[in-house]
């Protein structure tokens, strides 16, 4: 089970003592690293990332309790055992306050030390075993790329399995990061159209005036810039599935036409009188309350009712916290594989921090935090400190998030959109592609890294996608 030897760091000014510890702990399958003084040891702790530290209390250069304080400032969780040939009640109390695992008097009681080191070893093995279990449970409870053993998720998987073969329209609602697109893809993948195309349109990324052309296409000469006839996403997705993300952003003017297309499969390209018929399964998603939007007149109620014949609401992560350990284990494993490192999970304190967080960005946010923590991680086990700094980075508002609408407009225009038909310069394309990969597909994060607004990033992606149809299409038989 334990595929690595735990590391013991011994700090004592007495070389004979270090030799004894090396001999003893080496026999118990520990990798022992020795230091004659506290200062050099403290410098090395961040690199060595020991599982347990044996620390002498009386050293000439720096006192053991001060070393312990510095260790605690670096790593709250590492087990520290103090040793002293001159025990005193005061230092023992102080050691306990600083969270020392034990306080041993010299000459060392080797049996007691053996007991302590075994405890440390067992603790590591237990964490590792828990991680293995969580990761394997996560695999067991995985469904089309989604993980969850909570009742909410199991119900969702059941619903998808039951309905995917039959439904023609689905409305998926849920907060950002809850996996709406994954649900849409699941519907597609286990439905009868799995061999056909799955196309995506993000409605928040399309310029209002171009919506109609985007969805239904246009005839050459239909408007300025329409230099050639172009089909819309509906025709592109004919026979397959069309995923309309952030459908709540759809302008009211386009909504009646969308309703016709959804209801009867009828559409007209902009600038053409000819009605075309398509067979498209429409899956729409929104993070808005469309019922309220339609009641307030901001979304057509007939379209809402048509789309919401089958409505699926995704639970936010904070309402299914029991899935956090599984998701964590799965993401840690995934990141480890990507970084070519073997992690044995997260510490108990790190797990508590993950459990307690609010997760406004839901699973996407959790995934980003884990990914960042894995990058930060020094050792095999991800610590609370690493999780905390990853979470701090994730909750930091993106620069420009507070910018006014005016700022955003100018920010979008500072990155000029390419002319119709003109290819993006290779450098820009490569840059956007690279940043998207870096951010794991998280558009908000990618936009932040690029220093542009989310909306203008979507426009860029759109352009890229037009030039690279494979980005949009999956399962095209």
């Amino acid at each position: 089970m334990n595929d690595h030897r735990p590391t013991l760091l011994a700090i004592d000014d007495e070389p004979g003592m270090l030799a004894l510890i090396e001999r003893f702990a080496g026999g118990l399958d520990f990798d022992v690293i020795s230091h004659h003084g506290g200062r050099s040891a403290l410098e090395h702790i961040p690199q060595v990332h020991p599982d347990v530290i044996l620390l002498d209390l009386q050293m000439p250069e720096i006192c053991g309790l001060d070393v312990l304080r510095s260790i605690r400032a670096m790593d709250r969780e590492c087990a520290v055992i103090l040793m002293t040939a001159h025990a005193s009640v005061e230092s023992a109390i102080e050691a306990v306050k600083l969270g020392a695992l034990d306080y041993l008097t010299k000459p060392l009681d080797l049996d007691r030390l053996r007991g302590l080191l075994t405890t440390v070893q067992k603790g590591i093995e237990r964490r590792q075993a828990l991680h293995e279990i969580d990761a394997s449970v996560a695999r067991q409870f995985e469904f089309q790329g989604m993980i969850g053993r909570s009742a909410a998720m199991q119900d969702l998987f059941d619903t998808i399995r039951r309905l995917a073969p039959h439904v023609r329209t689905v409305l998926i609602s849920g907060e950002t990061g809850t996996g709406k697109e994954l649900v849409a893809r699941a519907f597609h993948k286990i439905g009868p159209r799995r061999e056909r195309r799955f196309s995506t349109v993000n409605c928040s990324a399309v310029v209002d005036t171009l919506f109609e052309s985007e969805l239904f296409g246009h005839q050459r000469g239909a408007f300025t810039g329409a230099t050639e006839t172009k089909i819309g996403v509906f025709e592109h997705a004919d026979g397959g599935t069309l995923f309309l993300d952030e459908v709540g952003e759809l302008p009211l003017t386009v909504q009646p036409k969308l309703l016709r297309a959804v209801e009867y499969g009828d559409l007209q390209r902009v600038g053409s009188l000819e009605t075309r018929r398509v067979d498209v399964r429409v899956i729409a998603a929104t993070n808005r309350d469309l019922r309220a939007e339609s009641a307030a007149g901001r979304f057509r109620s007939d379209l809402y009712f048509r789309l919401s014949i089958m409505e699926i609401e995704l639970a936010p992560l904070r309402d299914r916290r029991e899935d956090i350990p599984l998701l964590t284990a799965s993401f840690v494993r995934e990141c480890g594989a990507r970084l070519n490192r073997s992690f044995s999970g997260v510490t108990t304190a790190a797990e508590r921090a993950l459990q307690a967080a609010h997760w406004p960005g839901n699973i996407r946010e959790l995934r980003n935090v884990i990914e960042r923590a894995c990058l930060l991680a020094e050792g095999r086990i991800i610590t609370e400190r690493e999780i905390q700094s990853a979470m701090a980075a994730s909750s930091r508002p993106a620069p420009g998030a507070a910018a006014s609408a005016v700022d955003r407009v100018s920010d979008a225009s500072s990155l000029p959109l390419p002319e119709d038909g003109q290819l993006l310069s290779t450098a820009q394309r490569a840059q956007i592609d690279r940043v998207l990969r870096l951010s794991g597909g998280n558009k908000t994060e990618a936009a932040r890294l690029l220093g542009i607004s989310r909306r203008s990033l979507y426009r860029w992606i759109d352009r890229l996608a037009l030039d690279q149809p494979r980005r949009q299409d999956v399962g095209h038989g």
């Binding site: 007495e14 030799a19 001999r23 009386q58 025990a87 000459p107 060392l108 080797l110």
Partner: protein, 72 residues
């Protein structure tokens, strides 16, 4: 440690050294085969180190020998 007198320092260092002798002899006692002729020798070293440790522990803190003993 502001209360370190020379005798305390000396006691501390001596205990440390004896601890090393004790520790290694204990390791050897566990590892040497029961039938080995070295076993009794190691046992002697171990016992002597223990006795020395006791002597150190019982040594008075002040030269007159009237003062309180150290905790250990």
């Amino acid at each position: 440690m502001s209360d370190v007198t020379p005798i305390r320092r000396w006691r501390h260092d001596l205990k440390n050294q004896l601890g090393i002798v004790l520790g290694f002899s204990e390791l050897l006692l566990n590892e040497v085969d029961a039938a080995s002729p070295h076993k009794p020798d190691v046992a002697e070293i171990h016992a002597a180190a223990l006795r020395a440790l006791e002597l150190v522990a019982n040594m008075p803190d002040d030269p007159d020998g009237a003062g309180a003993k150290d905790l250990r």
